[in-house]
């Protein structure tokens, strides 16, 4: 009962803050895990008419483009075994997804830990590790490459489609979207620290680094609405039990040791300068050369870019629920369980 009272007090304080601000707030949650948590816990109904939640481009599966999938399928056809995180299986390529390729006999295996994958890889297997994700997962790939070097393995390569969070956010805030506040991804902040998000302050938009549990999100909304009320643009940290000011310095050193910035194509946002990470030239022997034709990477009917930039709600997309569903995803936001269209498809309607 005490918890209930405390929660009700916080909910009422958030609503009071918004009433004082005097308008419905547009808040972007950058990370897909936040999107799911917001919808799954009913925040969209709890703060209906108070907060318009917009899903950002921080779901690594959502922003992985079809060209990358096509490359992996081509490599599988050349008899490589592809190791991938499970939720990449559904991302549509031009002709098929990895799941469909697997059903047709391609050697595609699900991995949980790139390090364990390298540790337990059969010696006679020509393997490619699909390296996908933001800064959260990059250290794991760095560690697995270290393991490859230690064991002097010659049968493992990395297909890098790694992303950075700062560049797409800058593009989004500069060119695409007008929001009152940002919920920043706690997982990435674990690595980059509060310092890694200081650039957001330049845009003069209040922001908060949040955890993923419902109470984390509630407290982050309390903090964020207070910042909006006070016109305070300092990046707030409401995930202190995990996120330090300087981040995880060991993990950051690993990233810097093996990786360097490169341009990257984001499904829905296009090519972003410095938006990706590739292996440094001294490790190029462990990197797969990927061939992209950026011109062809767009689905004219798919409005993911508009969804990711808050111009459109998922249900306003002409493909939503008609031809674009979680089983037949046509675009970025329906692909992953953490995509905004996918979350809306599952939890978005309410009484």
């Amino acid at each position: 009962m005490q918890t209930h009272d405390a929660v009700n007090n916080i909910v009422n304080t958030i609503k009071n803050n918004i009433e004082k601000i005097g308008r419905q707030l547009r808040i972007i949650e950058v990370c897909g895990t936040h999107t799911v948590s917001i919808y799954r816990n009913g925040f969209h109904t709890l703060f209906k008419e108070y907060i318009d939640f917009i899903s950002g481009p921080g779901c690594p599966v959502c922003v992985t483009h079809e060209g990358y999938i096509d490359n992996l399928i081509e490599l599988a056809k050349m008899n490589y075994t592809i190791y991938t995180f499970g939720d990449l299986l559904k991302v549509p390529g031009k002709s098929m997804s990895l799941a469909e390729a697997k059903a047709k006999g391609a050697k595609i295996k699900i991995m949980y830990s790139p390090v364990d994958t390298v540790e337990n890889m059969p010696e006679n297997e020509e393997a490619i590790i699909a390296a996908v994700g933001f800064e959260t997962t990059v250290p794991a790939f760095a560690l697995s490459l270290e393991k490859v070097l230690e064991k002097d393995l010659k049968n493992v390569k990395f297909a890098c489609e790694l992303k950075t969070i700062d560049q797409p956010l800058k593009v989004l805030l500069k060119d695409h979207i007008k929001v009152d506040g940002l919920i920043l991804p706690g997982h990435v902040a674990t690595i980059l620290g509060v310092d890694g998000f200081k650039f957001v302050e330049e845009f003069e938009i209040p922001s908060v680094i949040s955890g993923f549990e419902k109470y984390d999100i509630l407290l982050s909304l309390l903090s964020l609405t207070q910042s909006i009320l006070d016109n305070d643009f300092t990046v707030k940290n409401e995930y202190k039990r995990v996120v330090k000011k300087e981040g995880n310095t060991v993990a950051k050193r690993y990233i810097e040791r093996f990786f360097e910035r490169t341009d990257a194509y984001f499904r829905g946002l296009g090519l972003i300068k410095g938006g990706g990470l590739r292996l440094k030239s001294e490790y190029s022997a462990f990197s797969v050369q990927l061939k992209y034709d950026y011109e062809s990477l767009s689905n004219s009917a798919c409005r993911c870019a508009d969804v990711l930039t808050g111009k459109l709600k998922p249900f306003e997309c002409p493909l939503f629920e008609k031809v674009c569903t979680p089983q037949t995803p046509k675009g970025a936001c329906m692909v992953s369980q953490e995509g905004s269209c996918n979350a809306y498809f599952r939890y978005g309607k309410w009484k």
Partner: protein, 333 residues
């Protein structure tokens, strides 16, 4: 484009129902089949009898809390039990891949015998097929069960569901699915989560003696969410459940958090929901708790008829709890 069967067609969720409704039912055309519950109850020479069939393809064959043999008896017997039937006979059919361990087959067969004895059902027919290496994955088992009505005056039926009745769950949910995931994914959870695989005969027998149960459904593939959705589709009434009340063990929650799974969709193999009138709920819960301390009221049947399952979240938000509509896959971060 060639239509093909995908894994989701067998997960007990939306695609499974679409396959049954769009392909199987129109072709078979049986009026009895169209009633479409896990057991079919019908009159035969003046007797109310019921029949149920199920196939078991679980891997690993042996898991914490059970094995494919135990599962093949419990699954079919429980389907009969929730329909208000007393199971009498069961058939067992094996499809075995060549090279399968004879010792494992003996263990599985002994387990079938043990649980058939416990369920007081007699194994009356069977079949064995052996296929070449690669044509099946170890062992598949099909069981078909026959039961007779416990009490023809108090048969649970979807047509007896009405507004304001109470939805009760017989124990904590998602254990079997979590157990199988933990075995398959080898994440160090292997011996932490015990499957809920078990017989529901005693608890249902006592419940039906003491309470007039409107409807029961066991929670198998697709879990609690899918079972509730099936109930709203067939009854026409909405159901509203409260997140706070749905019992999930800590270790199941932990596995779900790590793998990005949703406990509401995880399979159970020894749990059911019962729908009873409000004035009988206390008695029903008291009986269920003798068998599982987690049994509790989780929600109500609403007067509204949108065929929806609503979930009230801890903070007072509401969202739709839909059917399982794709394979749950582990996530990146």
């Amino acid at each position: 484009m060639m239509r093909t069967i995908r894994k989701e067609h067998g997960n007990g969720g939306k695609q499974t129902y679409e396959l049954i409704d769009d392909l199987f039912k129109p072709i078979f055309g049986s009026e009895i089949l169209k009633s479409g519950d896990d057991s079919t109850v019908f009159s035969l020479n003046g007797m109310k009898v019921g029949i149920s069939t199920d196939s078991f393809v679980v891997k690993p064959y042996f898991f914490k809390g059970g094995d494919i043999g135990k599962l093949s008896v419990c699954g079919t017997v429980n389907d009969l039990a929730v329909a208000g039937l007393e199971p009498k006979y069961i058939t067992i059919s094996f499809i075995i891949e060549e090279g399968f361990s004879m010792d494992d087959l003996e263990k599985i067969t002994r387990s079938i015998r043990k649980y058939a004895d416990l369920a007081k059902v007699e194994v009356v027919a069977g079949d064995t097929k052996v296929v070449e290496k690669g044509a099946a994955d170890g062992i598949f088992i099909n069981t078909t069960g026959l039961g007779v009505a416990r009490d023809t005056q108090k048969m649970p039926s979807i047509s007896r569901i009405k507004g304001n009745q109470v939805v009760i769950v017989s124990g904590d949910i998602g254990r079997h699915g979590a157990c199988i995931y933990s075995h398959n994914e080898d994440l160090g959870f292997k011996d932490r989560i015990e499957s809920d695989c078990g017989l529901l005969l005693d608890v249902i027998s006592e419940l039906m003696q003491e309470v007039d149960v409107a409807y029961m459904k066991d929670l198998t593939r697709g879990g609690l969410a899918t079972a509730l959705n099936e109930i709203v589709q067939k009854s026409g009434f909405d159901i509203k459940v409260e997140e706070e009340k749905i019992p999930v063990a800590d270790e199941v929650k932990a596995l779900c958090d790590i793998l990005g799974l949703d406990s509401y969709y995880l399979a159970c193999e020894g749990r059911f929901v019962a729908i009873v009138n409000g004035d009988e709920k206390e008695k029903a819960i008291e009986i269920l708790r003798k068998y599982n301390g987690f049994a509790c009221e989780i929600g109500t049947v609403e007067e509204s008829r949108e065929k929806r399952v609503y979930l009230s979240t801890t903070f007072g938000g509401t969202r739709i709890l839909d059917m399982l509509y794709y394979e749950m896959l582990p996530r990146i971060c």
